[in-house]
Symmetry: C2
Subunit: 149 residues, 2 copies
């Protein structure tokens, strides 16, 4: 009855570790695979604006490299195989749903902040994941009150 | 790290048992309290319509009694104390959030049906719970594909 493959959608905050702990809590040793996924949103000019000329080249790639380092740390701290650490570029919602679908994920874990729930911080992304996922979704409330739990 | 009090919002379908199983899966024996809650929406005329004159009196109370019987069955099947079985009348979203708040619930479990997620069946209620809960929310996908899991 326990989950076979938990996908944790992590951002670069220090709270990503808390989400990993939730995944471990809901996993069964030697059965449950845990994957971490960080999505880098592509940097695009919003018409009619153009990207400033001083905009550094290769910024996305820098963000990907930073995310890989952070995921490596999280993986080490939570005994998650480096094969199950993924950084991808794209629209966050679509990338999460794509990985969940292709990797036979049966639980997606996403974080939610603040007193007023999803709509406050993670906004449309978590919302979209919740509405379109083909598997269970755990929305973990992250905030001052329970950050120590 | 495990949950102290899981509130399962159940309807009268046969899938309510599946949600109870999820709650048991995520609970820790001798630590986690599991409550079942069924909400009966009040029957009201929608202006400018009036309730038909043949509308049976006491229908809400009949629905409450049926729900109590069903919750008793679920409680027996899943070793949940009868003190933790609750039937309430009101707007589903508000009642769930009220019980979660006053009973120090740290995980709410709700069901979601169909390929297109929440919006399809449970609609605005699950949605609202997800957006306004002060604790974690697990949206359990119920469907042909995973009803046997």
């Amino acid at each position: 009855m326990s989950y076979n493959h938990i996908l944790v959608a992590v951002d670069m905050s220090h709270e990503a570790g808390y989400l990993c702990q939730k995944a471990l809590q809901l996993s069964e040793p030697a059965k449950t695979r845990i994957s971490l996924l960080h999505v880098v949103e592509p940097i695009m000019a919003m018409p009619p604006y153009e990207l400033p000329s001083a905009f550094p080249e290769g910024l996305e790639q820098q963000m990907v490299e930073q995310a890989k380092q952070r995921l490596n740390e999280l993986g080490r701290e939570n005994q998650i195989s480096e094969w199950d650490l993924k950084v991808d570029i794209g629209a966050t919602k679509s990338v999460i749903l794509h990985h969940a679908h292709t990797d036979n994920v049966d639980l997606i874990i996403v974080g939610t902040h603040g007193r007023h729930g999803f709509s406050r911080l993670l906004g449309s992304t978590s919302n979209a994941v919740l509405h379109h996922a083909e598997c269970d979704v755990l929305a973990v409330r992250i905030g001052r009150e329970n950050s120590g739990r």
